[in-house]
Chain length 333, copies 2
């Protein structure tokens, strides 16, 4: 595992170099907004999502450099989501990875714009992958569609909406919905209106939780993997199976996050244990720690099975994807 | 002019139909966030930007339907920017086009996410243009690059940043910068750090104002026109000239906005005359009404000249672009 962590760190450095190279290319922008974006982009982290994009591309014989734009783009989207999530009107967090949150340094208005700027810059960065000969515009446009789909209201943003309304559900009512209900527009709206897409027939805590997990965290992990595969030209059954891998590790990632929010100390996390304090609906608070640990293990098995079912792939190209799945389940912070 | 306005309204209806068709396709999202996006998308407006995308495409022989995705996308980006601009941490506006602003109805958190969702959905919508045979992925990817570039920190977002810091400059100091200066991180930062890109050598009120105009409003108008042209396969000198047209009408649009903010009544605008109240740096407050009116007229002449210099274009295909330039300069609300 130590060797893998060293490799993960080395790849994270490469991604950070890639991101800062992109930032240096920016023209015609006031320096303060570039600095606000750079502040959060350079706040550290394991760069799990870019790693997945790069390693998936490699698994299907596309060079790391030829997927670098997509790797940088996914980290930009992830970072924008953290900046907006930390804002006073959302989680109102003062610390992120042990450092003051973006709005604590730059103010709410600039922080909002830094998030908007990053999300937009992610698409600009990703679109550049189209000029790489081995990739081309058709595959890149598919990656754009994937990123937009999984980052938007059908993915990450949808999960965030549900998550907001799930607060207080452990005590039997949504605090956020209670605030809306007195307003004329929301009279008579049922919980499903806030918490779940209309396609869902059943409204239970477990369904809501599963929707939040799959989308709030899982969606960006899925598109990281999918973009890597799409840029490498993967389609059909292999695409389906590598997305099963993504879904499994995405689920595991969030479950482990929920567990750590309860078990890890503030220092280890670099942020406050806000889920437990807010009595948020999480895997750990709903099913307990033991069941959550078992669920993470089951997800690991699913991920391994999905990798095993890929056709025409060199086994040595998959080592890092196997290792990443284990790393996600066994991490302690 | 009456005939043109009827045509403009008819095209606006088509765009609104296109947007609502896109919204109906959304799957896997809680209904409340779709409603929050729809609320602002359906708040009315002349749909100038989509019109420009569609008419530019038509000028270069691309059918309206084959540029519709780009037209919808630009209106989504425009709408997201209004939603975020109205938030309490930004302009804190209660009314937009005579209706309560998005956050007044849905709350700040959902409003933030509705904006994020719309920006992301714009790229998803635009990317769909790639599946249209006459357009294809290569041209569509160029349009993605254009939209991202002009909507981001090198364009609209950059203009918004500068605009925030320009508040109070009429009285000799930036109110927003004054709030940052006591913070350690901002010690010793010069006005250029907040107000202008580092490439700018001169820092004067006129330079700042010009940067704000070109980017805050002009950038989205430029990409509307550019996307229409790119999807139609335009390049070289024609692309340069149609972008000159865009720059001229974009400038005129903002100058007329500044003039109307002083001369029009609250009822005509459907919002409060906040620029005058906030003593914002605008063309009208800096140069006065007369000079502003003349500047708008000069811009109209530039726009007409740019259209006149296009090669291999049917004259009758340009009528609506000429009419739009006149409409922008002569509008009274």
């Amino acid at each position: 595992m130590k060797t893998f962590e060293n490799y993960l760190n080395a790849q994270a450095k490469k991604v950070e170099e890639g991101i800062n190279k992109q930032l240096k290319k920016i023209k015609n922008a006031p320096q303060i907004i570039i600095d606000a974006m750079a502040y959060s982009l350079n706040a550290g982290g394991k760069r799990v999502r870019p790693f997945l994009a790069l390693e998936t591309a490699k698994a299907f014989d596309l060079k790391t450099n030829d997927a670098m734009a997509a790797a940088c783009a996914i980290e930009m989207v992830h970072t924008y989501s953290l900046i907006h999530d930390d804002l006073p009107s959302m989680d109102n967090d003062d610390l992120r990875r042990g450092k003051p949150t973006n709005h604590k340094v730059f103010g709410e208005d600039l922080s909002l714009l830094a998030g908007d700027g990053l999300l937009t810059f992610a698409f600009e960065t990703l679109a550049q992958n189209g000029s790489i000969k081995t990739v081309g515009p058709a595959r890149t446009l598919k990656a754009v569609l994937s990123l937009a789909n999984y980052a938007g209201v059908s993915g990450m943003v949808g999960g965030q909406v549900s998550d907001i309304f799930a607060e207080g559900l452990m005590e039997g009512k949504s605090k956020r919905a209670a605030k809306l209900t007195p307003l004329k527009y929301f009279k008579g709206k049922k919980p499903a209106y806030y918490l779940l897409p209309s396609e869902f027939k059943e409204v239970s805590a477990a369904t809501i939780l599963n929707y939040i997990h799959t989308n709030k965290t899982g969606a960006l992990i899925t598109t990281s993997v999918e973009m890597g595969a799409l840029l490498a030209g993967v389609e059909g059954q292999n695409l389906k199976n590598i997305k099963k891998y993504a879904a499994a590790i995405g689920f595991a990632f969030q479950v482990v996050d929920d567990i750590l929010d309860i078990t890890a100390t503030k220092k280890q996390l670099g942020k406050s244990n806000s889920d437990a304090e807010n009595k948020k609906l999480t895997y750990a608070t709903l099913f307990g720690l033991e069941a959550s640990r078992q669920a993470a293990k089951n997800a690991l098995a699913d991920a391994q099975k999905a990798l095993g079912s890929l056709k025409n792939v060199k086994a040595q190209n998959l080592t890092n994807l196997y290792a990443m799945a284990e790393f996600i389940v066994s991490r302690s912070h």
